[in-house]
């Protein structure tokens, strides 16, 4: 069972969380402008890497916040945990897993990308 470091509450057992699929898939701003193929791509197509995977989790039995996790799909190692909207690259240097839960960072919310 994984330990997931909620960016808000700290490390908790996987049982407290819900899985939300691949991260960084932004809902198109104007879906009506998309072709059927483009919309189908958004709806159905997901990467399925053997290796690092960025995915969304929600702390269902805790703070109810959604956040991003970078997890290795072979080893289950979690290399990063970062808040929604914080740029995925910004977290490259310092794994968010080691940051203390940062309340003020709520304002960093942004889209899934």
């Amino acid at each position: 069972m994984l330990t997931i470091n909620c960016p808000w509450c700290g490390p908790r057992d996987e049982t407290e969380f819900g899985f939300g699929g691949e991260a960084h898939r932004t809902r198109p701003a104007d879906p009506s402008a998309l072709s059927d193929a483009e919309w189908a791509e958004f709806l159905f197509m997901r990467t399925n890497p053997k290796g690092l995977h960025r995915e969304r989790w929600v702390h269902s039995h805790g703070c109810r916040r959604w956040f991003n996790v970078e997890r290795h799909t072979v080893t289950n190692e979690i290399t990063r945990v970062y808040q929604m909207g914080s740029a995925s690259e910004a977290a490259e240097t310092a794994p968010a897993a080691e940051q203390a839960p940062a309340t003020a960072a709520i304002e960093k919310q942004g889209s899934r990308s």
Partner: protein, 198 residues
Amino acid sequence: MADTLIRQGGATRFTQAVASLGANTGNGTRLAELTPPGQINLRGRPSDPRFVRTVGAVLGCVLPLNANTVTSAAEVTVLWLGPDEWLLVTPAGEETALIARLREALGDIHAAVTDVTGNRTRLRLSGPGARETLMKGCSLDLHPRGFRPGQCAQTLLARGGIILHQIDDAPTYDIYPRRSFSEYTWMWLSDAVAEYQR
């Protein structure tokens, strides 16, 4: 008439809700349901200084901004639930007036003040075996190095969600299950605590 109505607890099938547990003397570990307190869910942006200041002024204590912590004033205990969410616990019946004061003070500040008194009941577990009783069903690190008086957490106890609040080093814990889970939580706790009771 409503004022005279008894507020019904959640585990009354097993025990009448009691006003207080009383002093915990002796070495036994005790479990009781307390009269459901007033409960208010507060949402707001901690980055908005007006929100934090206004709420602090009404409550008479600072809003806990650190994760998993609790602050309190004379008539209210404030539990951190999330980065923009708190549970305000008041004596039974006091919640209505506090809601009104908060709403008035907050005015057009973006916030939500919601009466959730009925949402949860309150169980109290206290005594030397309390920590191990919880460890049987809670995956949090409850060791004094990890969880101390003045801390709270939303987590799972066995198969039900709870809010856990450590009161003192006895240790004493307040456990807030959702009302519909009260009987399950009671049954689970009274089973788990049995080996620590005399």
